[in-house]
Structure formats: structure tokens, C-alpha cells
């Protein structure tokens, strides 16, 4: 059975990936305001006037962790693009933060929008006129097919395998519960609440393991937005070139939205980095005065990773100190360049955790592997570096896994309250459905087929 999705509250990042300092996560649907309100702290969005923009913070309601400082636009139906309640969350963190905001929305009642779905809703709700209908249909067809292909491509083979196995295990449990309901007179083993509890907890821990790979999987899939900052002439361009040229074959140039910002995609030991170097590359004599810290500030704000470059052959300048201060709370690597020259800079005078420091020579291409190691340390727990490990790669998968996890928590809670097994089964089935949505698998009458192949019942 096809999921009924037409009235869900949908969410998606509505700004192009990797471009611009600000990203917008858009929500549309009946629950848009409620969902946004659930994951933000700062002002009560359910009370604010329509078509207002509000300062707030996105938090993870489970852990209370603050994810990002945001501006939230609340626009109530019907005067919106989709004629439904629409909320736009303007994030200003990097890719990682924006993705986390989306993930949190998907784990708290929203569903990831299909491509073209906002437009489709606008049409269905009479917002777009007839002449546009044909193109909407084309859009749905082409984009959905492409998205489906993409989703399949993104579905890592071992992840699909793992989820398939998990679903089969759950299915066998469900069939055993069902057979005792529909054929109570037969002497099939009764599945006890205790057995169901054990199964739920076992699946829970496997999903937990999977979720741990999520942020790493996402980095692998979408790249890490990396800003190279530093005062002029410390060797930022050389570093960028060294990193970007490591594997020439997969380096692409992507022109950014601002003419003097260049992004390069580099693959550092399997980890894609979106290298952003502000000004450094294009600095010209007349611009040198103006640029520097100001530009860097913006880059620092939006990046997932900072490579702060210092010159080992010179003393720390005020500008260096300022950059050190600015990047203090970010994930950063302090790259002390020019190791090939006589070293004047005393590393002990740098106000940082000594672990953060890496000494390199971009010109001699020495010490680059230490940068890689540091990236590993900062972003990876070691799970994804193992071969053949299932990795969760996108927000949709994370959202569904978290919903499956919620269903399992409900199973456990139900068992603790000694609810009858057929009620606890409701949540177990829900978990099974959510996992099925990840792999896009759902054969008709799966459960009934399982029931009759697993058990010998009937007159």
C-alpha cells in the first residue's frame, strides 16, 4: 500500500546546497508551526503574528542541545505559496548545521518533501493557475523519477542489506504475534512480552549504531564545508592547491555566488571537502587593505571546518590572534605553514589545544596527512572507516530511523505498562513500516504471507 502522504507536513532545504551564507529550511502543512515550535526555543511560534520573522534557536528536543541560531518566518494559510501554513527557518550555520536542523524537523513530525512538492501543493490548493498545471505534472514525473534514482543510489548496499534483515526479523516476530491472535487454538509458541521486549531492544541498539554513522555518512555524501582563513601571504592558496590537487580526477571548480569566493571540491582520503577560500586566492594589491578579517568572519560562520593558517616563519600578529579568538568555538585545525623555513613562531604561545596544531609545508607538500588525521579525529568516530559498514547518508534516512526508534521506545514503554501484546504490536508494526520506507520496500500482504509460510494453521 502506498503511504498516504498528501496531508503530511513537509520540509526541505530550499536554498541550493553549498551556496550562500544563509540556508533556508522550509516547512509546509497543517503541523508546520507546531513542528517548528517543538524544535525551537526563544519565542512561542504558535503565538506570533502571521508573516513575521522571529529570532530563535533550533534545539534537539531530546537532548536540549542547541543546534543553531536562527530567524524563523511564520506565514499562516492561506496567504502563502502553498496556501498552507508555511514556516521558513533561516539557518546561518554551514551545511552540517542546516542538515541537522532538517533532520530534527524530520524526526519531530515533518516528512522530507518530494522534489516539486511545494509547487504541487501550491497548485492543488489553487495557488497556481491552469496554464502551469501541465508543467507541474512534468515536474513531478521527472523530478520524482530522478529523486527515486538518487535515493536508490544513495542507499548504500550494506545499509539496504542491514535494514532488510532487521525488517525480516521484525516480520517474523509480528507473524508470531498475529498467528496467536488469528489462530489462538493452535499450539504455536506464544510470543511473550518479555521476548518482544528483547527483540525491540535488540533492534533499538542496531538502529542506534546506524544513527551514529549518520553525520559521518552525510559528510561522505555531501562534503564538509571547509574555510581556509588566515592573514595574507601565510600560504592559504598553496594549501588549497595542495589539498585540491591531491586527486586531480575528482576536483571540480564551482563558482560561488560572490565573484571573489571560490569553492573547490577536494577529496582528502575519501572525505570530500568543499574548500572555501575567501579573498585569499584573488587578493590584489588594492584590495588587500579592505579584505582580511571581515571576509574571514563570514566564512568562519558558515563553515563546518576551519583551517586556520599561520606562518611558522613569523611571530603571531594581532590579526592572527583575532582569528584564533574568532574560531575558538568551531571545529578547527591550526595549520602552521612554512615548516621548510626557519621556525620563529613558538607553538606554545598559540592560545589553543595543542592537538589542534599541525605543522606543514605546503610548498614541500609535507604534513598534509596530519591534516587528514585531524579531520578524522574531529568528525569521525572510526565507524565509517571500516570496510563494508552500513552508513546512513541523508536526512531522510536519519528522519525515518529516528521515527523507527521512537516507535521502538513506544514498544518498550507499552511493555513496561503491561499493555496487551496486540497493542504493543501497533508500535512494532509502525517501526517495521518506517524501516520499509527507507528501502522503499513494501510488498502487498507481506505479513500474511509470512504468517502462512512460518506457521502451519487452518482447517
Amino acid at each position: 500500500m502506498t503511504e498516504i502522504t498528501e496531508f503530511d507536513t513537509i520540509a526541505a532545504i530550499s536554498t541550493p546546497s553549498g551556496e550562500g551564507a544563509i540556508a533556508i529550511v522550509r516547512l509546509s502543512g497543517e503541523q508546520a508551526v507546531a513542528v517548528a515550535n517543538k524544535v525551537t526555543r526563544g519565542c512561542n511560534l504558535t503565538k506570533v503574528a502571521s508573516h513575521t520573522i522571529n529570532y530563535s534557536h533550533v534545539i534537539d528536543p531530546q537532548t536540549q542541545e542547541v543546534i543553531d541560531e536562527v530567524m524563523v518566518s511564520v506565514m499562516r494559510a492561506p496567504k502563502t505559496f502553498t496556501r498552507e501554513d508555511v514556516v521558513e527557518i533561516n539557518t546561518h550555520g554551514g551545511l552540517m548545521a542546516t542538515n541537522r536542523v532538517l533532520q530534527i524537523l524530520l524526526s519531530n513530525g515533518a516528512r522530507l518533501a518530494e522534489p516539486g512538492e511545494f509547487t504541487k501543493r501550491a497548485f492543488l490548493n489553487g495557488r497556481i493557475d491552469l496554464t502551469q498545471a501541465e508543467s507541474v505534472m512534468d515536474l513531478i514525473r521527472s523530478k520524482t523519477d530522478r529523486a527515486m534514482q538518487q535515493a536508490l543510489n544513495q542507499l548504500d548496499g550494506s545499509l539496504a542489506h542491514l535494514i532488510k534483515n532487521l525488517r525480516q526479523e521484525i516480520l517474523e516476530v509480528l507473524a508470531q504475534v498475529e498467528v496467536n491472535i488469528d489462530y489462538p487454538e493452535y499450539d504455536n509458541d506464544e510470543l511473550t512480552l518479555q521476548m518482544l521486549l528483547e527483540k525491540a531492544q535488540q533492534v533499538q541498539s542496531q538502529i542506534q549504531q546506524l544513527l551514529k554513522t549518520a553525520s559521518e555518512g552525510q559528510i561522505i555524501n555531501e562534503g564538509l564545508k571547509t574555510a581556509i582563513v588566515g592573514k595574507p601571504n601565510v600560504g592559504k592558496s598553496s594549501l588549497l592547491n595542495v589539498l585540491a590537487h591531491q586527486d586531480r580526477a575528482i576536483v571540480t571548480d564551482v563558482a560561488g555566488t560572490t565573484r571573489d569566493v571560490i569553492e573547490q571540491l577536494a577529496n582528502v582520503n575519501g572525505i570530500p571537502l568543499q574548500l572555501v577560500d575567501t579573498a585569499g586566492i584573488h587578493e590584489t594589491a588594492d584590495k588587500v587593505e579592505k579584505i582580511g578579517v571581515d571576509r574571514s568572519m563570514q566564512a568562519i560562520d558558515t563553515a563546518d571546518l576551519i583551517l586556520l593558517v599561520l606562518d611558522g616563519s613569523r611571530f603571531l600578529s594581532a590579526e592572527d590572534q583575532q582569528l584564533l579568538q574568532l574560531t575558538k568555538n568551531k571545529k578547527r585545525i591550526i595549520v602552521v605553514n612554512k615548516a621548510d623555513l626557519p621556525q620563529i613562531l613558538d607553538l606554545k604561545t598559540i592560545d589553543c589545544d595543542p592537538q589542534e596544531i599541525v605543522q606543514i609545508s605546503a610548498v614541500a607538500q609535507q604534513g598534509i596527512d596530519q591534516i587528514e588525521q585531524n579531520i578524522q579525529r574531529l568528525f569521525f568516530t572510526g565507524i565509517t572507516t571500516q570496510q563494508n559498514t552500513a552508513v546512513v547518508t541523508n536526512a531522510r534516512q536519519v528522519g525515518l530511523l529516528k521515527q523507527a526508534q521512537q516507535a521502538l521506545s513506544d514498544v518498550v514503554a507499552g511493555i513496561k505498562q503491561q499493555m496487551p501484546i496486540d497493542l504493543v504490536q501497533i508500535d512494532m508494526t509502525n517501526c517495521w513500516d518506517k524501516l520499509g520506507e527507507i528501502t522503499g520496500e513494501s510488498a502487498p500482504d507481506e505479513l500474511i504471507t509470512q504468517l502462512f509460510s512460518q506457521f502451519c494453521v487452518g482447517k
Binding site: 498516504i4 513531478i140 491472535i181 496487551p420 496486540d422 501497533i426 502451519c456 487452518g458
Partner: protein, 635 residues
């Protein structure tokens, strides 16, 4: 045969007086339609050709639903049962179900008598061979005796009679159930009219003489001592105290060996049987082959009635040759000397592929023609009766020129069943299972009246007396729920002693009675120890509803939210004559399925396998485009 035109004109003609036909005819007659009920054999009205029991999981709930809509099955079994049990008492309220053993002959007699006494209803023995159809609409039937009866709507419930064929080992002969006359010509006529028929198979076990059974080697299964009834109208005092037991025994390795040694003579495996049999109703030879590692299979010995010595050997369905059946029976503990009174047999028959039906059970091929029961591909008396009732109601509504009556998947198991049939079709005899229902916590047997009585009343199938009783019950339930949600239990020695007895912490602050009831150890009766009783004494039927509503409120709320979602999509109607070929962008499979099923709502379309979300989106956009165009034109 020279045909003659009967001067008797009817509103509704029902063909077949099994479980589906009886309900269809009674519903139409009770809704005020002049109704004719034709059957091949009057001595087989509401006959049970297989097991002598009614109810069980899912099926028992259907019986209650039929009752809440003013049908007869529940009352008929209440009047003729010889044993009754509540199943799944150790599980939640959603899956509890009543099952009764029927006195087979009495069940038939009481139903026949009910039909005979019904005003507006004519019961007659005749075999229908042909439908009268003009311009794609059915207006009557022709019998084998040459009578042409005209009617405004016709309901076919031919059961397993349609080109029925009985198979026992090497023996095969044309026959309806239990050696009745098969209906051959009607099938041919349906094919001529353009219906696609499919061949199904079912079977029944042998019957043995009670006097030759050694029950000391079997386990007794007595009925419950708690008074219960299927019908919401049957007084609880009519409860039967003198119940008859069933007995359980097992097959063994020897039985299995006999079966394996004779598989070459088993029609199921020798290729004689073409029809598709149900997975959930396998013959014993099928079980032994498919579950080869199972050392034994259960056998349930069920009495066929109070005034007969025949016992039904449940779970021993077989089409093995008679001599092998004898040998198999004699290998079973307690049946060593059993005298077989009737051999088991397999029966093949024609069914109308159910995707050719609308959710009203009217056929898409011929208007004013409805089909119900086993001929729609289902199995089971309850499934048949449920469909018969819906077909009868819709035939009557058609005659009255009123809107059709369709039950949703969120309203009744009957709704789940019919939606499954018309949306997905079926490639084996369809049996209702609780796992087919998405919202089974809502579709309980105990609340069938709450779900459906009002609808039955509006259809004219529920008396005003009964409606009054029902309305009062609902008011009492609502008032008591409200009272418990407002009553606080204060900490007291009594309650803290009670909690201490359960090893639980004492109550420090007050607690709402409704919340206290949520605790697993607490039921309504224990609750009453700590709060004042209700202003008026409440019957168990009321307190049971109160308890379930409050105890499982969290789960009920979850399912209610899903239902709300479903209903929005059900409200999106698809125009009946939509030209799917004109919808650009539908995937090929979706296009074919949509054209074949012709769903009435977006929700139904979403349930068709092979129709994916993109297809649904495109369809919605297409329909919306049409609406906008229409509005513009009008403007």
C-alpha cells in the same frame, strides 16, 4: 424449455439462500422492498457445508457488525448454538472474539423459518440459469423451470455451486456442495455477459460417528461458563447452560507416512485439481508436505449438532481417496475404530474476479446486478453474510433511488474485506484476519454497536426500540467517562493498602480516577472501591466500554489520528468516468491498474499495488486541473 413471464414483479431478486443470500434478502425485504429469494434446494437454506461453527477472530467481529446493521446471523447463532467460547481473553480488547459451535440442522431451520415469516419476502426453490439484461442493466432472472422473474435489482450469491466439481481421490464429478445440484448455465451466461471468472478450490474433512470415537484419548474443550451473546439484542439470560464439548487430538508420524505413501493418488499433487486453494485452509496432505518437519498436527473434533452422532474432524480437510482417508483416520489417537460417515472432499468452483465490482458490490460489467459471498472469492460463512448484507442494502437503496452504502476500512471489518476485494482482487479464497485491518483497536467486537447501530437505524434495519436502548447506552458510557475524568481519588489508608499489596508506592497527592484506571492492576471494579458509584447502576456492557476507552486511550488516540488522515484522502473523490489514457505521465503499470480497478477515491487509488506516490500526485493534479477548467467555464 418453454419460458413464461411470471406476473410476479419484484424490487429485489436474490439468487442463492446461503449465508450471503439470506442476509441480502432479509435486508432488502426489511428495507421495504418486495423481495424474491430463489435457491436450488430449500433444504439447504443457510446450510453449513463445512465446519459447524460461527465466529472466531475477525469473523466473530463481523457477526457483531452484521448484528449492529440489523442483520440476522448473530441472532440465528444465538438461537442455535451448542457451545460458546470467548477467544483471546489473555490478549487486548481489540482481538477478543466470540466463537460458537452451531447445531447445523437447527441453524438451517431457524434461518429458513425467519425467511418464511418475513413480510415482503418470497422464498422459492428454483435454479437460476440466465440473467435478463438490457442495455447493460439487469432487470431479472430466468429459472430452469422457464420462469422469467422481473426485478429492479438482482443479487447473485451462488456460493460454490457455480460449475462446482467434487474431487475425492481418483473420483471427480460435477456437484455443488454436499452433493447438491451444481449451477452450470449461470456461469456460462456470466461469461457471455463479459465477466472474467476464476477457478478456486476449497475442501472439507471427513465426518465420523461419535459412537465409534474414543474420547478418553482426547483433550476436552468445554464451552465458557460466562454468559455471552453475539447479538446486542439477545437477552443475556437466554444463555445456554447445557453446552456440548469439542475434543482435541493429534495426527502422528504414522498418519504422515500414510499420506506420503499415497501422494501419487492425491488430487492436490497429481495435477487433477486446477483451482487455487487457500493458504490458510490447507488440506492435511498439504500440511504434511509443506511442514514436513512438524511431528504432529492438531485435530479438533466438533459435534455437528445435538440430535446427530456426526462429528466434524476439524483440521483434517482432505481429498485423498476414500480408502486412504479411512486409513489416515484410523492412525489417529482416539479414532482407531472410527466409522467414517462421509468422506472429505475438495470442491472446485467459479468465482467472479472481484475487481469487477464496485465498493457497493454492484458489478461494473452489468448495472443493477450485485454479487456477494463465496462467488466473490471469499471463504467463510461470516465473510459471505457480511457481503450479502451490504449487497442487499445497496440493491434496496438502488431501487429507492438513494445514495449507496459503503463502509470504510476504519468503520468495519466488512469495509476492510470489501475494499480488499474490489481494490486488490484475490488470487486465493479470501479469509478475514485481524491483521488485514489497519485499525483493529477501533474495530473491536465490543464496540460494533457504537460503530454501526446508527447507520443501521438510518437504513431502516434497526427498530426504534433498539435504537433507544443504544442511544441510552452511549449516553451512559459518555457520562461515566466524563465523571471518571473529573473525579479525584484522594490518598487514603484504603488505597495505599491496596497499592502496598501490589508492591507499589503509596499515593501522595490526589489522582484522577481516569488515570488510576490506566494502571495495569486496576479495572473498573477495583476503581469502584475508592470512588463513589455512578449515579445509576451501570450494566457491564457500559462499564466495559468505559474501561477500554480510558485504559487504552493512548493507543486509541494514535489510531484515531491515522484514521483522520485516511479520511481526508477518502474525501478526495475521483470522477467515475475519468479517462486515464488522457492523464499524461502515469507509469504504465499504474495506468493499467487504474483503468482496471477504476477507484472511487484517492485513498482507494493509493491502495492499489503498483500505483506509486508520483502517480497519485499526477492524478490529483489532473483532477484539480479539470475542476479549475470547469469553474472557469461556469464563470
Amino acid at each position: 424449455m418453454k419460458e413464461y413471464i411470471s406476473t410476479e414483479n419484484y424490487d429485489v431478486i436474490v439468487v442463492g439462500a446461503g449465508h450471503a443470500g439470506s442476509e441480502a434478502a432479509l435486508a432488502a425485504a426489511r428495507m421495504g422492498q418486495k423481495t424474491l429469494l430463489l435457491t436450488i434446494n430449500l433444504d439447504m437454506v443457510a446450510f453449513m457445508p463445512c465446519n459447524p461453527s460461527i465466529g472466531g477472530p475477525a469473523k466473530g467481529i463481523v457477526v457483531r457488525e452484521i448484528d449492529a446493521l440489523g442483520g440476522q446471523m448473530a441472532k440465528n447463532i444465538d438461537a442455535t448454538y451448542i457451545q460458546m467460547r470467548m477467544l483471546n481473553t489473555g490478549k487486548g480488547p481489540a482481538v477478543r472474539a466470540l466463537r460458537a459451535q452451531a447445531d447445523k440442522n437447527e441453524y438451517h431451520q431457524v434461518m429458513k423459518n425467519t425467511l418464511e415469516k418475513e413480510p415482503n419476502l418470497t422464498l422459492r426453490q428454483a435454479m437460476v440459469e440466465r440473467l435478463l439484461v438490457k442495455d447493460g442493466s439487469c432487470y431479472g432472472v430466468v429459472t430452469n423451470t422457464g420462469a422469467q422473474y422481473q426485478g429492479k435489482a438482482v443479487v447473485l450469491t451462488a456460493g460454490t455451486s457455480s460449475r462446482g466439481k467434487i474431487i475425492i481421490g481418483e473420483l471427480m464429478y460435477s456437484s455443488g456442495p454436499n452433493n447438491s445440484i451444481p449451477s452450470i448455465k449461470l456461469s456460462e451466461n456470466l461469461e457471455q455477459l463479459g465477466f472474467q471468472l476464476q477457478r478456486f478450490k476449497t475442501g472439507t474433512p471427513p465426518r465420523v460417528d461419535k459412537n465409534t470415537v474414543d474420547f478418553t484419548q482426547m483433550e476436552e474443550q468445554p464451552g465458557d461458563q460466562t454468559p455471552r451473546t453475539f447479538s446486542f439484542e439477545t437477552p443475556i439470560t437466554d444463555y445456554l447452560k447445557d453446552q456440548v464439548s469439542c475434543w482435541m487430538t493429534y495426527t502422528n508420524e504414522q498418519t504422515h507416512q500414510i499420506i506420503r505413501d499415497n501422494l501419487d493418488r492425491a488430487p492436490m499433487f497429481s495435477g487433477v485439481i486446477e483451482g487455487v486453494g487457500p493458504r490458510y485452509c490447507p488440506s492435511i496432505e498439504d500440511k504434511v508436505v509443506r511442514f514436513a518437519d512438524k511431528p504432529r498436527h492438531q485435530i479438533f473434533m466438533e459435534p455437528e449438532g445435538r440430535h446427530t452422532q456426526e462429528y466434524y474432524v476439524g483440521d483434517f480437510s482432505t481429498s485423498m481417496p476414500e480408502d486412504v482417508q479411512q486409513e489416515m483416520l484410523h492412525s489417529v489417537a482416539g479414532l482407531e475404530h472410527a466409522q467414517m460417515m462421509r468422506p472429505g472432499y475438495a470442491i472446485e468452483y467459479d468465482v467472479v474476479e472481484p475487481w469487477q465490482l464496485k465498493p457497493t458490490l454492484e458489478t461494473k460489467v452489468v448495472a443493477n446486478l450485485y454479487t456477494a459471498g463465496q462467488m466473490n472469492g471469499t471463504s467463510g460463512y461470516e465473510e459471505a453474510a457480511g457481503q450479502g448484507l451490504i449487497a442487499g442494502i445497496n440493491a434496496a437503496l438502488r431501487v429507492q433511488g438513494k445514495d449507496p452504502f459503503i463502509l470504510g476500512r476504519d468503520e468495519a471489518y466488512i469495509g476492510v474485506m470489501i475494499d480488499d476485494l474490489v481494490t486488490k482482487g484475490t488470487n486465493e479464497p479470501y479469509r478475514l484476519l485481524t491483521s488485514r485491518a489497519e485499525y483493529r483497536l477501533i474495530l473491536r467486537h465490543d464496540n460494533a454497536d457504537a460503530r454501526l447501530t446508527q447507520k443501521g437505524f438510518e437504513l431502516g434495519l434497526i427498530s426504534s426500540n433498539r435504537q433507544e436502548v443504544f442511544v441510552k447506552k452511549q449516553a451512559q458510557v459518555a457520562a461515566e467517562i466524563k465523571r471518571l475524568q473529573q473525579t479525584r481519588i484522594k490518598p487514603s489508608a484504603a488505597i495505599n493498602d491496596f497499592l502496598a499489596g501490589l508492591g507499589m508506592k503509596p499515593l501522595k497527592d490526589g489522582m484522577l480516577a481516569a488515570d488510576f484506571l490506566k494502571r495495569p492492576e486496576v479495572n473498573y471494579a477495583t476503581l469502584l472501591q475508592f470512588i463513589a458509584p455512578a449515579p445509576e447502576k451501570l450494566p457491564i456492557a457500559v462499564t466495559e466500554q468505559v474501561e477500554i476507552a480510558l485504559k487504552y486511550a493512548g493507543y486509541i488516540k494514535k489510531e484515531a489520528a491515522q484514521i483522520a488522515h485516511l479520511q481526508k484522502l477518502e474525501a478526495k473523490k475521483i470522477p467515475e468516468n475519468l479517462d486515464y489514457d488522457d492523464v499524461k505521465g502515469l507509469a504504465t503499470e499504474a495506468l493499467q491498474k487504474l483503468k482496471k480497478i477504476n477507484p472511487t477515491t484517492m485513498a482507494q487509488a493509493s491502495r492499489i499495488s503498483g500505483v506509486n506516490p508520483a502517480d497519485l500526485s499526477i492524478l490529483m493534479v489532473y483532477i484539480q486541473r479539470g475542476r479549475i477548467a470547469k469553474v472557469k467555464k461556469e464563470a
